[in-house]
């Protein structure tokens, strides 16, 4: 430990094609400290870690600029295996454990201790006998150091999630010569008490001289655990702070920041306070990766309500649950009438339309023409664009062509014509087709989920303007879900922030960056006074 820093990543830049994801980022970690790495989704945290671990994705896309120093010496990390040899370990967000193996076997996986035997003399190391005794004593030691009293011969299968996390940590600690451990959102799946225990384990590990990089978006945990903090925003270094010099509010502000100019500017107005259009009580949605755990809110007629939050926190689950695309439970009322969850056609019939975030998966029939895509819902749900002859029905090709051409013109869908296949369009134009399909339904209520994901800036602007126009001119009530806070703030009347499947707070677009930042990490602005007070 002669050098001042165990890890120095100096002026790291990384480009994927035209797209700069890391721009001159510097990260320094002292031995034995807990260093928090903060940032929103897409701020560059994972890319930075990929650089640190020498992931193939970095090397295969042209490497990176800048230098990495371990213990003050310049090194080149060629692969994750190389990183492990150089004393860098990672505790993954998704557990990398073999369920059918015991705790010991998992901890010692691919680093097994073994004794020579008759066969191994001839056939090499791979046939040596496992030395279960010393393996289990090593495992015991590692488990003890993370404060786990579970038997080392238990199978991983069927263990509580929190235990698996600790087994994972124990495995990293067991590696000899480990100098630096990266914890990637370790508390995301843990209960509160488990999270507290984890933090104390982390502190214990740090005390033994191992440095820790702690990636998270929970500001209160950062304040509880970290010694120093690096904040990334949009691939750039936003700030580096020591805990003692900062407050939770400052961190939230730094994390959100003001990103560029608003793309669409709307006249500020009072929040429409008409009748309640959509009333949701205790909504639970079982959408993998986006679970909703008990959300209640009202949407007023004529407003644009935004739903924001970090990825994986459940904001996408809300529209998908109301539209019954995933199993959902709860009381939903639309324009005063009860909506039965479980079949997507109920919501559609009630006059709700949705533009899905999963364009290719749910949003489009990629192999079918633009016009067929546009009229599909209206045809199936409202029996429009059909000739009816008794029980028989036939597509009304003329009417379909007409409405398709009209939509293509109105939404400026760039295509060769209404018969072009949806799969051959660009992302932005596909999104417009999805919007067109929702509009042909003439909905009174529209869900738009991540409408600007993966589309170019011109299309983004047009999509947002279309939404505003629909709201202002036709009085359509819109709920927009987006990861881009800036977008929500530019067109929404109110913004709900969701964290861990629960509604944290409903804010006005004019609320401060700090309020949004805190809400996104799950802290209601009203509460942070006390917590912030604690931290200081």
């Amino acid at each position: 430990m002669s050098a001042e820093y165990v890890l120095q990543m100096n002026h790291i830049s990384k480009r994927y094609g035209e797209n700069t994801v890391l721009n001159d980022v510097t990260l320094t970690v002292r031995p034995g400290e807990i260093h928090a790495l903060l940032g929103e989704n897409g701020a560059g945290k994972s890319t930075l870690m990929n650089v640190l671990f020498g992931m193939p994705v970095i090397h295969s896309t042209g490497g990176f600029e800048g230098e990495v120093l371990l213990d003050g010496e310049k090194t080149h990390i060629a692969s994750p295996y190389d990183a492990m040899h150089k004393g860098i370990g990672m505790v993954h967000q998704e557990f990398m454990l073999l369920p059918g193996f015991t705790v010991t076997e998992n901890i010692k996986l691919n680093r097994e201790l073994s004794n020579k035997n008759m066969f191994s003399r001839f056939f090499g190391r791979n046939l040596e006998t496992l030395d279960m005794k010393s393996m289990s004593s090593d495992a015991r030691k590692a488990l003890d150091s993370v404060g786990m009293n579970i038997d080392e011969f238990t199978r991983v299968e069927g263990m509580p999630v929190g235990y698996m996390q600790f087994v994972e940590i124990a495995r990293e600690i067991d590696k000899t010569g480990i100098k630096l451990l990266v914890f990637d959102e370790p508390t995301a799946v843990l209960t509160e008490s488990e999270a507290t225990q984890l933090i104390s384990v982390m502190k214990a590990i740090a005390q033994s001289g191992i440095a820790i990089i702690f990636i998270t978006h929970r500001l209160d945990e950062v304040m509880a655990a970290a010694d120093s903090i690096t904040i990334l925003r949009d691939g750039k270094l936003a700030a580096k702070r020591d805990k003692k010099d900062t407050t939770i509010v400052e961190l939230a502000e730094l994390m959100i920041g003001r990103k560029g100019e608003a793309m669409v500017s709307t006249e500020p107005r009072e929040v429409p306070a008409g009748n309640v259009a959509l009333k949701v009580r205790d909504l639970y949605v079982d959408m993998p990766g986006e679970e909703v755990r008990g959300v209640s809110f009202d949407v007023n007629e004529g407003e644009i309500l935004g739903i924001g939050g970090l990825a994986g926190q459940g904001k996408l689950g809300i529209p998908n649950g109301v539209m019954s695309l995933y199993a959902a439970d709860g009381d939903v009322e639309i324009f005063g009438e009860k909506l039965k969850l479980g079949n997507a056609s109920n919501a559609l019939r009630a006059g709700i339309a949705m533009v899905s975030e999963d364009r290719k998966g749910v949003g489009l029939l990629l192999d079918q023409s633009i016009e067929d895509n546009i009229v599909f819902n209206a045809m199936q749900i409202k029996d429009e664009y059909l000739y009816k002859i008794g029980p028989m029905s036939l597509k009304n090709a003329g009417a379909i062509r007409q409405v398709a051409n009209q939509m293509i013109q109105e939404l400026d869908i760039r295509c060769f014509g209404p018969t072009q296949h949806a799969g051959t369009l660009s992302g932005g134009n596909q999104q417009k087709v999805c919007i067109a399909r929702a509009l042909v339904m003439k909905p009174k209520f529209l869900f738009v989920s991540e409408p600007t994901r993966g589309i170019d800036i011109g299309a983004k602007k047009l999509v947002l303007e279309t939404l505003v126009k629909l709201n202002r001119e036709q009085g359509m009530t819109i709920v927009m879900v987006s990861s881009e806070l800036q977008e929500l703030r530019s067109i929404c009347d109110r913004i709900m922030i969701v964290s861990e499947g629960k509604l944290v707070d409903t804010l006005l677009p004019s609320a401060s960056d700090a309020d949004f930042g805190l809400a996104m990490s799950g802290i209601k602005p009203g509460e942070h006074e006390e917590k912030g007070g604690d931290a200081q």
């Binding site: 695309l325 997507a344 056609s345 489009l364 029939l365 036939l394």
Partner: protein, 623 residues
């Protein structure tokens, strides 16, 4: 850019070559019937005649030499062995002397011979024409008898459990034919006309005597005229006899002979030029496999022309086979659209249709009533079985390809047992001895044999148009097309295209898959009945096993993928697939006589194209 240029240059060169060939062909083709063509034939004919009689001349010299040698030996007073020796020696010497003797053809005056031959040819032609007319009349008169006899023989064979060929040419026994008076008169005249030919030949080869001439008569007359031979056949025959040296201008004669092939070649080059020029467009619109198969089909067409096979008959057969297979191929459409991919479990439908057909025969319902009854029964059974099969497929989503394949195999094997125990009693269906149904059940006029094929059928030259069959095919295609445009049809193809999308619109995915599966199975039942009526037989036991694969590969050749298809894919695919098979067999037999290469071809094409489509569908799902 440069690639484009190369393309254009190659195309232009091909077009120029094609125009050159076409001009040559068009200039030379009319010459066959004109003076020039006749001159070529006459030259060849005279030379062949001279060559042939020249052999007779040698024989004459040998005979004379032998006689002289015998006389000389006897005069010398030698014994039998000495005589034999002397004769053998004389023969050998004479042969050696004359066989290698070259006649100076250029110096010969053949004008008398030519005139005589021309006269003889006219006479012979008159005779053979009359003979042909008389024979045809006889055949027409006795055809009914022969057909009855053939049918009886067929029945007997089927009763004995032997396999019978699908298409049989019925021949009339000509042993009872007696030459008419007209024929004898003309023959006498032809014989008269032979005299001056003989005389003229004697003028050239003085050694020929009357007996030699009468021996050579048959050969000479064959050389002079043969029934029904056109220019190319005569030319080939004379050339094969080695008379090419007689031609004043071999090159132009060659061009006249191959004028038609030059035209075909010109057309082929034009096709090549078009393909080279529009390759990108074709590749985009049709896809590479269709270009390959299409070009292969065109190649087969040209080859059958080259080998002077009757292309119109072959294309007519192609049309019939397209019609008989098309409904089974059509059965793939609802399957692919509803998302169960290729319905290789088609044998379920086929078996249902076969049961319908069997019941018609069992109950003895004749004609159209019987056919419609068979279809109705088939549809009902297929609907029930298809419904159960659909439930099975809904439980095993994602594994459709293997499930359908194994279901297809299993049902065929299961029915192999069923055919043995089903309680049918008609003797037309059962083995005469033992239990169970026959392997192949022949349909006849009392059932629905050719009921669609013969409906409104008409003929243009060799080209028979099975109007009823084609109409039925088009009507079925139209109905399926209408269905795909109905609300249910649209929902069904959405389910196949993107189940999650369909679910998001509240469509019951399982129900739609069920609808598609039932429809596919029902179409299979109708398809096998259409196939059987055209084929003339119902094949039980293992015969339906391969049919699912054939139908699947046909639609894939037509341009469908495992997740997307249109009606046009059915029509194009069936035509190309059946066309390649129908044309491939005779052409392959010309190339490699007596081979089973066409069967190998069928298996290669059908299985290869399925494999290709699977690699493609994998690629798409990954994207």
């Amino acid at each position: 850019m440069t690639k484009n240029k190369v393309q254009r240059i190659v195309a232009v060169i091909l077009v120029i070559a094609s125009i050159a060939l076409a001009v040559l062909g068009f200039v030379n083709l009319p010459k066959r019937e004109a003076a020039e063509g006749q001159k070529i034939l006459t030259d060849l004919r005279i030379r062949t005649l001279l060559n042939a009689t020249g052999d007779g001349v040698v024989e004459s010299y040998v005979a004379i030499a032998k006689k002289d040698a015998t006389a000389a030996a006897k005069a010398a007073g030698g014994g039998m062995s000495a005589i034999r020796e002397a004769v053998a020696k004389a023969e050998e010497e004479t042969r050696a002397k004359y066989s290698n003797a070259t006649t100076d053809y250029a110096a010969l005056d053949t004008s008398a011979l030519e005139a005589a031959v021309a006269e003889d040819e006219v006479r012979l032609k008159a005779y053979y024409t009359a003979a042909y007319v008389a024979e045809q009349a006889y055949i027409d008169e006795h055809m009914a008898e022969a057909e009855a006899a053939a049918a009886a023989e067929r029945e007997a064979k089927i009763a004995a459990g032997e396999d019978v060929p699908a298409e049989e040419t019925i021949t009339v026994d000509m042993s009872g034919f007696v030459a008419t008076e007209e024929m004898t008169g003309l023959l006498a005249k032809a014989d008269q006309a032979y005299e001056p030919v003989g005389a003229a030949l004697q003028g050239i080869y003085p050694v020929l005597d009357a007996s030699a001439l009468s021996t050579l008569k048959g050969t000479i007359q064959d050389i002079v005229y043969q029934q029904g031979d056109d220019f190319t056949v005569q030319y080939d025959r004379y050339m094969a006899a080695g008379s090419g040296a007689a031609l004043e201008n071999p090159v132009s004669a060659f061009l006249v002979r191959y004028a038609d092939d030059l035209l075909y070649g010109a057309l082929a080059l034009l096709v090549c030029a078009a393909v080279v020029l529009f390759y990108e467009l074709l590749a985009r619109k049709l896809g590479i496999p269709r270009i390959i198969i299409g070009l292969f089909f065109i190649l087969l067409c040209f080859m059958s022309l080259w080998y002077d096979l009757s292309l119109s008959t072959l294309l007519s057969n192609t049309l019939v086979r397209m019609g008989m297979n098309s409904i089974m191929v059509l059965a793939m459409v609802p399957g692919i659209q509803c998302g169960i991919s290729l319905n290789l479990g088609l044998p379920i439908g086929l078996v249902a249709g076969l049961i319908g057909g069997l019941m018609t025969i069992e109950l003895g319902i004749p004609g159209w009533g019987g056919f419609l009854f068979a279809i109705l029964v088939g549809i009902v059974i297929a609907a029930v079985c298809g419904w159960m099969y659909g439930h099975l497929l809904n439980r095993l989503k994602g594994e459709e390809m293997s499930v359908t394949t194994y279901v297809g195999f299993s049902i065929v094997s299961l029915m192999c047992i069923a055919w043995l125990v089903l309680p049918f009693t008609s003797l037309k269906l059962r083995w005469p001895l033992g239990t169970g149904l026959r392997n192949t059940i022949g349909l006849d006029g009392t059932n629905f044999r050719h009921i669609l094929d013969d409906l409104l059928a008409f003929q243009i030259g060799d080209f028979v148009v099975p109007t009823g069959l084609l109409l039925f095919m088009l009507v079925c295609c139209f109905l399926v097309w209408l269905f795909t445009r109905s609300k249910t049809g649209v929902a069904m193809s959405a389910v196949g295209n993107n189940p999650r999308f369909a679910e998001a619109t509240g469509i019951n995915v399982d129900k739609m898959r069920l609808v598609g599966t039932v429809l596919s199975t029902v179409l299979g039942a109708v398809g096998i009945l259409v196939y059987s009526q055209s084929y003339g037989f119902m094949q039980l036991y293992t015969a339906p096993r391969q049919m699912g694969f054939i139908a699947a590969s046909a639609i894939l050749i037509g341009g469908a993928s495992t997740s997307r298809c249109k009606i046009s894919h059915v029509l194009i695919g069936t035509f190309l697939f059946q066309g390649v098979l129908t044309l491939g067999m005779p052409v392959a037999n010309m190339l490699v006589p007596g081979s089973t290469i066409s069967e190998t071809l069928r298996i290669l094409i059908s299985n290869g194209i399925i494999l290709y489509a699977l690699t493609k569908s994998g690629g798409e799902s990954r994207a």
